[in-house]
């Protein structure tokens, strides 16, 4: 089977602190149809990984490669990476004052697909997906994320995931502030999105989010490296014993 | 004579009447040296006091000759715990023309409290200039307290030259004088230099208060903050000019200014120009000003609890001042509090 995402020996430093090595040789392979989870203590480099895949200006790759569907993507700009079919749900999504949610969704759909969405069909899609996520349709007239609660912002991220339907979804859930409600939204979102062709990479430090999910692989990330890979039982073990065993 | 003083660094429309302030005063003839007392642990710092014949020029726009100079050097690595107290006692129509030069060498720290005080009811004059140079990683809190009587004129100028990682904190407590002009000019020359400038003023009777504060952000990641809290009553007039100037290249700097003025009479006048000049994209600048009378709801609440209107006003004004007064050394704070109470009564 063709690899969807392949990361080889990835090393990164922070843009504002070149002496700080964050990822120290990370390897990861994700096949279509799989659900992967990366867990690790605070500061292990989890969020850095998600941001590096998306070529965030905050991190610099010093070694290693990232391949997506067989194509090297390290040097692509963030928008080109998104257009290849990768989506990232942010732990703290940005607010864009003066831009309505409706306008934003149209623009992003247009950007990703390269063609203007059929307005009638797209509106119907938005309405349907919002209903499934328990969002009020009136929200489309509000300014993007401005004044949204944490839960509303999270729903908004999942809404975009469903509308853009990428090949790979990276869910950065490192924010510990997630309440039960938000966790349910993420779980539901994955449920609605997941199929045999696409894949999910969940980045988290808590196991709560994994309760109702069928997970293929769990990776433990400590100090910039994956120190152990296993199945969902590994997550259980972490829930019981924490990371001590894997920390130096 | 009349002179236009305290000029804005960048001129705006003349019709706005804020480019400068016109002040009437007599250039004093030098009669005697004002008494000055320096107290505190002077064993580790160098203090030199001398009379100078030359001109003392300040950014207020005044040049006066023959002055007394106090030069203080806080040597490298020296940290003085208790503040050094410098007190000018003015009497018998004194003309205090003085300069205090303070040099903080690397990694040093020392606090100062500089007070000018009227000792009698005579009309005195003061042109006081402070020159602060802060070398790498030095820090200090300098507090200036003006307690001159309501017939006196005070011209106070402060110049800061702050180098890498230095952290200078200034508090100006303006409690007296008929005419009082303040000029603060700060160069944040190198990376992470920091200047905070807090001011409290009380304008009474027909006094004129004129503040011209300027912060020049040159180094990267420099930080400035101005907080001005004041109250005006009777027929007092106040001008506040606060300029934050972000020079091109001072990336990741932040500058903030806040001015709040409470007007307690219908005949006073408050004018403000919180100015931001910005030639660098990567900065955060913000200012806010607010003016008006004491919030009615608060007043009503206190009066319903038995306070008279005057007492309630006083309490609310004091509340606004407390944040700034907290940084004043406790010994002086008590005295200032009682003076403020008296002024507001």
């Amino acid at each position: 089977m063709k690899k969807l995402l392949e990361i080889k020996n990835l090393k990164t430093i922070a843009e504002d602190d070149p002496n700080k090595q964050i990822l120290k040789g990370l390897n990861l392979t994700i096949q279509p149809g799989e659900v992967h989870v990366i867990m690790g203590p605070n500061g292990s480099g989890k969020s850095t990984l998600a941001n590096t895949i998306f070529h965030s200006p905050r991190y610099i790759v010093t070694d290693g490669d990232i391949f997506f569907a067989g194509e090297k993507i390290n040097d692509l700009s963030t928008d080109k990476i998104a257009k290849k079919g990768i989506f990232m749900s942010f732990q703290t999504p940005e607010e864009i004052p003066g831009v309505s949610l409706a306008q934003f969704l149209k623009t992003t759909k247009h950007s990703i697909t390269g063609e203007k969405p059929n307005l009638y069909q797209f509106t119907k899609d938005v309405e349907e997906k919002m209903k499934e996520l328990g969002m009020s349709y009136d929200t489309v007239n509000r300014e993007f994320n401005v004044g949204f609660s944490g839960g509303e912002k999270k729903k908004n991220e999942i809404l975009q995931l469903l509308l853009l339907n990428p090949k790979l979804a990276i869910l950065d859930e490192t924010d510990s502030g997630l309440d039960v409600d938000a966790i349910q939204i993420v779980s539901k979102g994955i449920d609605l999105y997941k199929n045999e062709e696409n894949a999910v990479l969940i980045i988290t430090h808590s196991t709560k989010i994994l309760k109702n999910l069928k997970v293929d692989q769990v990776h433990i990330l400590v100090d910039g490296k994956i120190v152990k890979t296993g199945d969902s039982s590994l997550a259980k073990e972490i829930e019981e014993n924490g990371y001590q065993k894997y920390s130096k | 004579m009349k002179m236009k003083l305290n000029k804005l660094p960048v001129k705006t429309t003349n019709g706005f009447q804020i480019n400068d302030v016109e002040v009437e005063f007599n250039i004093p003839t030098f009669k005697r040296n004002t008494d000055v007392l320096i107290e505190g642990d002077l064993s580790l710092i160098q203090v030199k006091k001398e009379k100078k014949k030359g001109d003392l020029t300040s950014k207020i726009g005044l040049t006066l000759s023959a002055y007394e100079n106090i030069q203080i050097v806080v040597p490298k690595g020296v940290n003085i715990k208790e503040p050094i107290i410098i007190t000018y006692s003015l009497q018998k129509e004194d003309a205090n023309i003085s300069q205090i030069e303070i040099v903080y060498e690397e990694n040093s720290s020392c606090d100062f409290v500089i007070t000018t005080k009227s000792m009698d009811n005579t009309s005195c004059f003061q042109h006081l200039k402070e020159m602060i140079t802060s070398q790498k990683n030095a820090s200090g809190h300098l507090c200036f307290i003006n307690q001159m009587n309501s017939d006196s004129q005070s011209f106070y100028a402060l110049e800061n030259h702050l180098y890498q990682d230095s952290d200078i904190y200034h508090t100006v407590i303006d409690l007296g004088g008929k005419t009082r002009l303040y000029n603060v000019y700060s160069d944040l020359l190198e990376e992470q230099a920091k200047h905070h400038l807090n001011t409290i003023y009380i304008g009474k009777e027909d006094s004129l208060l004129d503040f011209n504060y300027y912060v020049n952000h040159i180094g990267i990641e420099t930080e400035s903050k101005m907080v001005v809290e004041g109250v005006l009553t009777d027929t007092s007039h106040k001008n506040f000019r606060g300029t934050i100037d972000f020079q091109k290249g001072c990336c990741k700097s932040t500058g903030e200014e806040n001015e709040n003025c409470i007007l307690l009479s219908d005949t006073c006048r408050s004018r403000s120009l919180p100015q931001m000049l910005c030639g660098e994209e990567d900065v955060v600048g913000a200012h806010g000003v607010s003016s008006g009378k004491v919030e009615e709801a608060k007043l009503f609440y206190l009066m319903s609890h038995g306070y008279s209107e005057k007492e309630a006003e006083k309490l609310i004004v004091m509340g606004r001042f407390l944040g700034i007064l907290d940084s004043v050394p406790s010994q002086q704070k008590e005295e200032i509090l009682s003076v403020i109470e008296e002024k507001l009564s």
């Binding site: 998306f54 200006p57 700009s77 963030t78 928008d79 990476i81 998104a82 257009k83 989506f87 990232m88 940005e94 864009i96 004052p97 003066g98 831009v99 992003t108 950007s111 990703i112 300014e143 993007f144 975009q160 853009l164 | 960048v10 001129k11 705006t12 429309t13 019709g15 706005f16 009447q17 804020i18 480019n19 972000f246 091109k248 290249g249 990336c251 003025c261 007007l263 307690l264 219908d266 005949t267 006048r269 408050s270 004018r271 403000s272 120009l273 919180p274 931001m276 000049l277 910005c278 994209e281 955060v284 600048g285 913000a286 200012h287 806010g288 000003v289 607010s290 003016s291 008006g292 009378k293």
Partner: protein, 469 residues
């Protein structure tokens, strides 16, 4: 209001439309600034004697007054090089068909006649120094509404004009208002009678076509007691290498309980010195709303003044300036609170890019008698690079304690993290910035009539493309 499709002309080559140059052979063009020229101008316009007297007095003042010693440098302006009067041979008409073909073509492409048909109660069009077209619907004429060129107003309603002319903006205000009063030509005269309400706006469009020319139109609007008016001003010019000068003047009078919404979208070419003066007197219970979008000109100096003279008078001021390469837009406002319970609400934004300079300059004065007044001012500046400048110079004066006053200002840039977020949603860096800038301008765009909001967004897009016209 019906939606006008001005946008159909505004595809990818919008800039070319603003750049259309009419090849007008049939015109009379005068240079210089002499008493002789001014007398000739006045007599050709068949003006009353008192109007000529004002011109001559202003001419003298112009030579006496100094250039401003603050703000942008305009010392290179030499009035001898400006064509002070440019007149098309054919006069003002009431039907678009009668406008000379080359001029009509320009207005056609700008969508002006189309807009009139669909959304306006009346419209006027000025080409260089003279109004070439003016029209008002019949039912409004019957109601007693007057909407003519200023010259016609002076001829047909001399008493009414005389009562208000120069009363808001005196000759002595500054050097370039003196120049204006010496040379005024064109512009509009509007009178809305008591309690009349216009359901659609009036619009005047000003086009400066000749290279090296000056435009000195005078707009005088009186909204009588209880009446309501929305007035729209549009300005544009093709780009030339020679310096053009615009020294217009707007005098507005909002009488008791009347209201006026005055919108301007200004897209002068970048060889224009825009030294414009606007003033409004508001009586008891009246309201003035200023909505301004400033995109064009090389240098702009414009600070509309609102004098709140009657109890309960209100002022709302909404402005956006966008300065690109080579532009110095020095704009702002003045408000005088002269009566009790007056209120003002200010929302000003600016964007600077590619070395452009934006200055917000304001003077707000609450007089002693203006008890129980409320003021809220907010200005926000966005800098898109470090070649540009953004200065905020707000003066506030309070002479009474009984006032609620708040002023806030912010300067900043677009956050890198916001750009990263949008790029992760497939937008290029340019698209991401564009979306954020449009969002920044949105609260201002919303205040404009629909078709102008569309034009404003197009202008923002053009500025962001970095094309310089």
């Amino acid at each position: 209001m019906a939606k006008t499709d001005v946008t159909k002309y505004m595809d990818s080559n919008t800039r070319n439309i603003y750049n259309l140059k009419a090849n007008n052979q049939n015109l009379q063009k005068e240079y210089g600034l002499t008493e002789e020229l001014i007398r000739k101008l006045s007599s050709e316009k068949e003006e009353p004697e008192w109007a000529l007297a004002i011109r001559l007095k202003a001419l003298k003042l112009f030579f006496e007054l100094e250039d401003p010693d603050w703000g942008p440098d305009i010392s290179y302006l030499d009035i001898r090089n400006i064509a002070t009067y440019v007149k098309p041979v054919k006069g003002e008409v009431r039907k678009w068909e009668d406008v000379p073909e080359d001029i009509r073509e320009v207005f056609d492409k700008l969508g002006i006649p189309e807009a009139e048909k669909q959304a306006l109660a009346g419209s006027g069009a000025q080409f260089d120094s003279e109004i070439v077209y003016h029209n008002l619907t019949e039912d409004l004429k019957k109601q007693g509404v007057i909407y003519t060129s200023f010259d016609e107003g002076l001829k047909n309603y001399p008493e009414l004009v005389k009562k208000y002319f120069t009363k808001a903006v005196p000759l002595t205000d500054h050097k370039y208002i003196a120049l204006h009063y010496a040379l005024f030509s064109g512009g509009s005269f509007v009178y809305i009678p008591k309690d009349a309400e216009l359901d659609r706006p009036l619009q005047s469009y000003f086009r400066l076509n000749e290279p090296g020319a000056g435009q000195f139109e005078h707009t005088l609007i009186i909204v009588d007691e209880g009446a309501k008016l929305e007035f729209i001003e549009g300005c544009s010019a093709p780009g030339y290498n020679e310096l053009n000068l615009h020294a217009g003047c707007v005098e507005l009078f909002v009488e008791k309980n009347a209201s006026l919404r005055f919108s301007t979208i200004e897209n002068w070419s970048k060889n224009m010195l825009n030294l414009n003066t606007k003033k409004c007197y508001v009586s008891e219970g009246g309201k003035i709303e200023w909505i301004m979008g400033s995109f064009g000109s090389k240098v702009s100096m414009l600070y509309p003044l609102s004098v709140l003279n009657g109890e309960g008078a209100r002022c709302e001021f909404t402005n956006i300036s966008f300065a690109g390469s080579g532009q110095n837009l020095d704009t702002g406002l003045k408000i005088i609170h002269n009566a009790p319970r007056t209120s003002s609400l200010v929302n000003a934004k600016s964007i600077s890019k590619d070395g452009g300079i934006c200055t917000f300059r304001s003077n707000v004065w609450v007089k002693k008698q203006a008890k129980h007044s409320k003021l809220s001012l907010s200005c926000e500046s966005l800098m898109l690079d470090s070649e540009s400048r953004s200065d905020t110079v707000p003066v506030n004066t309070l002479e009474t304690d009984d006032v609620i006053f708040a002023h806030e200002a912010k300067i900043g840039k677009i956050s890198d993290q916001a750009i990263f977020y949008l790029m992760s949603r497939g937008m290029t860096e340019e698209e991401a910035k564009g979306l954020i800038v449009r969002g920044f301008a949105e609260p201002i765009a919303k205040a404009f009539p629909v078709e102008y909001a569309v034009e404003m967004n197009r202008l923002i897009d053009l500025e962001l493309e970095g094309t310089i016209g």
